[in-house]
């Protein structure tokens, strides 16, 4: 217990406290001026908005992938199962370079998309794509074990009671998976908000358009405006915390409807 608390404090709480202390060097007016500047607000909006959108896409697509991996036996299933972990393991810069090459105007996917008038690389769409890429394993890996534990008999029971396939999914399967789905969503979101390496390559980093908050922090640091950087960091921290807390509550509520076995 004592060890756990001291370790948590050293690893997590003390650095966070340091961040707050550093931002106290600013007066409230200065702090407000920094975070309410157009560039900061836009960077935060890009980071959180796209991260949330990407997490939602991952939630849906991740669920479908999990379903296929758990419920179907097909050749190469193990390989696909391993591939899911690639975004975990790949250095984020490598992912960024790969995605940029792929989606650049002359890239494999970028060229046909450009012909359709869709520009991915060096736009917010590129950030979105990168965030989906790095977030997908979080959903898959949190939901997979829970779905594996879900007894196929409960689907048969629902069917023999007259439920259609759709009713079975909506009323039986999804509620049983809800806590795991929410956890996966939260993790994918948190990862996307904090993502730096893969995003900056593909983003184009145009202030107010495709500049993410973590990048703005780095820019401020390189300009030796440490207080500005910490102010933005504090805002990110607080917003992230609020969102994670909300998801946690939601998850607790979902879990309370499925008491422990």
């Amino acid at each position: 217990m004592g060890l756990t608390l001291s370790w948590l404090s050293i690893i997590i709480l003390i650095p966070l406290a340091g961040l707050f202390v550093k931002s106290l060097e600013l007066s409230p007016e200065q702090f407000w001026a920094i975070i309410s500047s157009r560039r900061t607000l836009n960077a935060l909006r890009v980071s959180f908005g796209l991260a949330f959108a990407a997490a939602c896409v991952n939630l849906v697509m991740g669920s479908i992938i999990v379903w296929a991996l758990v419920r179907y036996r097909f050749p190469g299933r193990r390989i696909f199962d391993a591939i899911v972990d690639v975004p975990f393991a790949l250095p984020t810069a490598v992912a960024g370079v790969a995605l940029t090459a792929l989606f650049a105007e002359k890239g494999w996917l970028g060229a046909p998309l450009a012909a359709l008038g869709i520009k991915v690389a060096f736009t917010p769409v590129g950030i979105f794509v990168a965030m989906i890429f790095i977030g997908i394993p979080f959903v898959v890996r949190t939901v997979q074990p829970v779905l594996q534990d879900l007894d196929p008999e409960i689907e048969e029971a629902a069917g023999s009671l007259g439920a259609s396939r759709w009713q079975t999914i909506i009323r039986v399967i999804l509620p049983s998976l809800a806590p795991a789905l929410l956890t996966g969503l939260a993790l994918a979101f948190a990862r996307a908000v904090g993502e730096y390496g893969s995003v900056i390559f593909i983003a184009g980093n145009l202030p107010n358009v495709s500049e993410i908050a973590p990048l703005l922090i780095v820019i401020r640091l390189s300009e030796f405006r440490y207080a500005d950087a910490t102010a933005i960091a504090v805002v990110m921290l607080v917003v992230s915390f609020v969102i994670i807390f909300a998801v946690n509550r939601l998850q607790r509520w979902a879990q309370s409807r499925i008491p422990a076995r």
Binding site: I154, G159, I258, P259
Partner: protein
């Protein structure tokens, strides 16, 4: 509702789970499918429910082809061995599930659903648990809720797959009696699968004994116990002594010893002699069909179970009343009060 199964075959890979099964279930009957694991009894039940499909053969409900319908259309109540309750729903919602998923045109209104669920919970005597979750119930309670849930849709047939298999012995006995009286009350054609002979004989009107994907015998509990049709049934139901014998020229031999048993009408060749343990009567040495030396004796309430080495070399177990105490080392004569002989080794 009658059920008719004709020449059903089902294979899993090279394993024949069902190998040509024919069965007729009468309206309102409570039928037991009894057999060891791997005998195909659960597969047969799942095919009747529409949860599995046969490779060939027919299933008809009241003369109507049931294989043309999926599980959803068949209107069959199914109770699973491990309950398969919905963990995220209260007991009340579990029971109401079948009513809530009905097509809008025939769905009952909320008040009617509530009334029906209440009625069912009363029927299984668990109305006080309506707001609990399945994880808060005991095994016996869960199975009763699973039964109430299956009955909610007013099934034409009730199918139970090892319904008491996961419960402890005492609860199992209670629920057996309860299921019997419940069936008496609702009178739905019911089939239950079990590997427990006592359960089958105690609960069912008729018992179907299965082995290796085939039906060995269909009959009343008395029939299958008193007049087993095959060596398998005799060995599976009740405690039996099994001895390999030879029938030759009107004489029965055990090893090289002729036995003083009538061989009339028996086909010559290797056969098996079956005697119930308690039908082997103990007498003084030299008085019986068999001679043997008592090896061990253990007492089970009203009977003593003795391991006896026969002079022919086989060792058998007999159940004798305790009016005459047996001791290890005693030499005794044994006389079968009743016995059956089945041709084939």
């Amino acid at each position: 509702m009658t059920i008719e199964v004709k020449n059903l075959v089902k294979k899993f890979g090279s394993f024949k789970a069902l190998d040509g099964v024919d069965l007729k279930v009468n309206d309102g009957e409570l039928l037991a499918l009894l057999g060891p694991s791997g005998s195909g009894k659960t597969t047969l039940l799942r095919i009747i429910a529409g949860l599995d499909w046969p490779d060939s053969g027919d299933v008809a409900f009241n003369g109507e082809d049931a294989l043309a319908q999926g599980a959803r259309e068949r209107h069959v109540g199914f109770v699973f061995q491990h309950y398969a309750l919905f963990r995220h729903m209260t007991v009340f919602e579990n029971v109401a599930f079948g009513l809530r998923v009905q097509p809008r045109a025939v769905r009952k209104d909320e008040a009617a659903i509530r009334a029906r669920v209440k009625e069912l919970l009363d029927l299984v005597q668990l109305d006080w648990l309506a707001d609990r979750y399945p994880s808060q119930l005991s095994g016996g309670q869960r199975q009763r809720i699973a039964l109430a849930r299956a009955l909610a849709i007013e099934p034409r047939i009730l199918l139970l797959d090892e319904p008491f298999g996961a419960l402890d012995a005492k609860v199992r006995k209670e629920l057996r009696r309860w299921l019997r009286s419940l069936h008496h009350e609702i009178n739905v054609t019911s089939i239950f699968v079990t590997h427990d002979q006592e359960e089958a004989l105690e609960v069912a009107n008729r018992v179907v004994v299965m082995d290796k994907g085939r039906i060995e015998q269909i009959g009343s509990p008395d029939d299958v116990y008193e007049t087993p049709a095959t060596a398998f049934v005799h060995g599976f139901i009740g405690e039996s002594i099994e001895l390999p014998i030879q029938v030759e020229g009107g004489v029965i031999r055990l090893g090289d010893q002729p036995l003083a048993l009538a061989a009339d009408g028996l086909a010559p060749g290797a056969s098996k002699l079956f005697v119930r343990r308690h039908d082997m009567l103990v007498g003084p040495p030299g008085s019986g069909t068999f001679e043997g030396a008592v090896q061990h004796v253990r007492n089970f309430g009203p009977v003593q179970r003795a391991e006896v080495a026969l002079s022919g070399g086989e060792t058998i177990e007999i159940d004798a009343p305790r009016d005459r105490e047996l001791r290890a080392g005693d030499t005794i004569g044994l006389n079968p009060r009743r016995y059956r002989i089945y041709a084939g080794a």
